[in-house]
């Protein structure tokens, strides 16, 4: 076995393990940390494929930004963990029957076929080949239409989040000096003329 293949299987094993832990762990913080581990392993696989730009983007965007934010949210939410997972195992028989069936169906279909792990034909690029440049060039030429549309999707996300959460200006009790200066007596005081009442 080549060293590359060894590294691949090592990373893949960690990836599968971490992904399984993400869905089985009781503690959401631990689950999020395992997701980070899964991202790291996936990024290792991408580096093996010589896609270093995508690997770095994955780390920067998902691990650096999204997952850390996610961890903050999970920690802030203060979820009652035990109540969340109550009755989790009671779903096990049904869930396992369903998933076993799906797996069995897929195996039945695939087993009849020749099943061989083929060597991946990774392009053996020369050293001058730049991944970043290639991705950038494609993004702004061939894929400019979906790229621009993706930015519109993000814009809609911003508009939607603002529309759904902004509750107008908070009513603060701070004092506005300019309005204080301009206030007049009649703004504050109202004189009411009332008929005199006779006392019994």
């Amino acid at each position: 076995m080549e060293f590359r293949t060894l590294v691949f299987y090592f990373l893949a094993a960690i990836l599968v393990f971490a992904s399984l832990r993400v869905v089985t762990l009781r503690n959401p913080v631990h689950a999020a940390l395992h997701l980070v581990l899964a991202f790291f392993s996936a990024c290792g696989v991408w580096i093996l494929l010589q896609a270093e730009f995508l690997a770095i983007a994955l780390i920067l965007v998902y691990v650096g930004a999204v997952m850390v934010l996610f961890l903050f949210v999970v920690m802030l939410l203060d979820i009652d963990l035990d109540r969340l997972r109550e009755g989790f195992w009671s779903y096990l028989p049904m869930a396992s029957i369903v998933s076993l069936l799906v797996v069995a169906e897929m195996v039945l279909v695939l087993i009849s076929r020749y099943w061989g792990a083929q060597e991946s034909d990774v392009p053996q690029a020369d050293t001058a080949y730049s991944n970043v440049r290639a991705v950038g060039r494609l993004l702004f030429t061939e894929y400019v239409y979906p790229f621009e549309l993706a930015s519109v999707v993000l814009l809609v996300g911003i508009v939607a989040a603002t529309a759904l959460t902004l509750r107008g200006k908070r009513k603060s009790k701070s004092i506005d000096p300019s309005r204080q200066v301009f206030v007049k007596a009649r703004d504050r005081l109202r004189l009411v003329r009332m008929p005199a009442e006779k006392r019994d």
Binding site: R113, P146, A160
Partner: protein, 498 residues
């Protein structure tokens, strides 16, 4: 190939001018709205309507009647797309007219975002309609769905609308996942995401694995079925239709159906026609189940929005019936007939749906939704013209001659019979008969029950005119259906390339 050799043709932007105009105007309106002091957002509203009219002009002016591609074959412009886009603009314009008073009565919705999100949703539909690449199909669907989720949730104080938005969002995300999974499998099998190239590879047999194609197809159809809302992927429809503010329900129930129909034609007919024997059976199952569940469940409803939701499920099932009978034993002669009758069906459904929800919006007031069937009691005594319009909509949906829905049902049925699926046609007629019961119940309530409210029905002149026009369209196209039918057939036969 080195980087220096990479050739890139600057995309022809003229073809996509309607999309570009709409996007630019949506961004502009977003900014203009910041400076609008008016609580009614009249400026935003008028600008939105003008933008839609402008986009319609652009689509009309640019359309050449030919199939042309741009943006590296990711965008296609053809007569079918142009026709559907024009219908989308018309229905969104009608939606905005109908929902104006409803929105003004509810301060949480009377904000600029309602119109801006509506425009973005329209852009999403346009992208879906002119998509010729799986990436653009997906992004169009996401753009539409994301805007709709937010619009459903806009009435923040209503628990029902928040719940509806949550259900819609979670199930929509699941459906997107299924769709993407299917697309990635097809990519793995054929090595392309371009829809015409996919058809070429399937035709020439340059496919790595036929089984992966079938697997991908299952996921793809499940994803599309989710978005269409057909059984067994229909669970979100009743809750979303019921929970969403009626103005948004009207939006969801009209134009997106046209875009979904376009996606089905683009993906299944343009891309996967050579594996049609695989997907036709799936569509037949989805179709029969939808007609059964939709029509039976609608009988039990007391809420008219929920009833129309189940009716939407059954109508989408009926539409799929036409889609499922295009190719018989590898013989593509019936393609144009079957798919154009499906398209005609969707157009007529959208027309009737606009009128029906428009009437519900007409009766709604501040703090009163008017969404129970009993709220329509004695409508004839309160205003006989509106009752007549609602009756025409119900008759059209039930498929009673001579309203437009009848000819739509008839043309789908004859496509099914021509495709050799006589039993399917019989099943469809049977379920339509069951469906007629709950449509006629609304008519009975309107004409024979005593009115529960004597409040006069007030509305603005534009809504009065548009609703009358809508009612007349359902009746007149019902008497002269040929023009619209021919338009659908011709645009489709000019657009499908083999």
């Amino acid at each position: 190939m080195t980087l220096a050799e990479m050739q890139f043709a600057v995309p022809e932007l003229r073809i996509a001018s309607a999309e570009i105009l709409l996007l630019a105007m949506a961004c502009l309106i977003l900014i203009v709205d910041l400076f609008v002091r008016d609580r009614n957002r009249t400026v935003t509203y008028l600008l939105t309507q003008l933008t839609l009219a402008g986009a319609a002009l652009a689509t009309f002016a640019v359309g050449t009647g030919q199939v042309s591609y741009t943006f590296s074959n990711m965008f296609v412009s053809d007569p079918m797309g142009d026709l559907l886009k024009l219908l989308v603009y018309i229905s969104v314009i009608a939606v905005l007219f109908y929902s104006r008073a409803y929105v003004l009565d509810r301060p949480e919705m009377a904000r600029g975002e309602f119109y801006v999100l509506g425009l973005f949703a329209t852009l999403g539909m346009m992208v879906m309609i002119s998509a010729s690449h799986f990436l653009t199909v997906y992004i169009g669907i996401e753009l539409l769905s994301l805007s709709l989720y937010a619009m459903v949730a806009m009435e923040r104080s209503s628990a029902a609308s928040t719940e509806a938005a949550m259900k819609y969002f979670v199930l929509g995300a699941l459906a997107s996942g299924l769709l993407l999974y299917g697309m990635s499998m097809l990519y793995g099998a054929t090595g392309t995401l371009e829809i015409p190239a996919l058809a070429d590879r399937l035709f020439s047999g340059e496919v790595n694995d036929r089984i992966i194609v079938s697997f991908g197809l299952v996921f793809l159809i499940a994803g599309i079925a989710f978005k269409l809302g057909v059984v067994p992927f229909h669970m979100w429809i009743p809750d979303v239709y019921h929970g969403a503010p009626t103005a948004v329900t009207l939006f969801i129930a009209s134009a997106p159906k046209l875009a979904a129909c376009a996606v089905v034609i683009r993906v299944l007919v343009n891309g996967l026609i050579f594996v049609s024997s695989d997907w036709q059976m799936m569509l037949i199952i989805l179709s029969v189940l939808s007609m059964a569940v939709g029509n039976f469940a609608a009988i039990a409803q007391t809420n008219i929005k929920r009833m129309l939701a189940y009716s939407a499920i059954s109508h989408m099932g009926f539409m799929l019936l036409g889609m499922a009978t295009g190719v018989i034993m590898g013989d593509p002669r019936f393609i144009v007939n079957a798919y154009s009758s499906s398209m005609f069906y969707v157009v007529t459904y959208v027309l009737a749906s606009l009128g029906a929800f428009g009437t519900i919006l007409l009766l709604a007031r501040a703090g009163f939704e008017s969404d129970e069937i009993s709220d329509f009691a004695g409508l004839n005594k309160r205003n006989s013209w509106y009752a007549a319009i609602m009756m025409m909509m119900m008759f059209s949906m039930a498929g009673i001659p001579f309203f437009v829905g009848f000819f739509a049902k008839l043309s789908v049925l004859q496509a099914a019979v021509a495709g050799g699926h006589l039993w399917l046609a019989i099943v469809a007629v049977f379920f339509s008969l069951i469906g007629a019961y709950y449509y006629l119940r609304v008519v009975k309530v309107m004409y024979f029950d005593p009115p529960t409210s004597a409040a006069p029905i007030e509305t603005t002149l534009d809504v009065k005119l548009l609703l009358s026009l809508n009612g007349l369209a359902v009746a007149l196209i019902g008497i002269f259906p040929n023009a619209l039918m021919m338009l659908c057939a011709r645009s489709l036969s000019d657009s499908i390339v083999f």
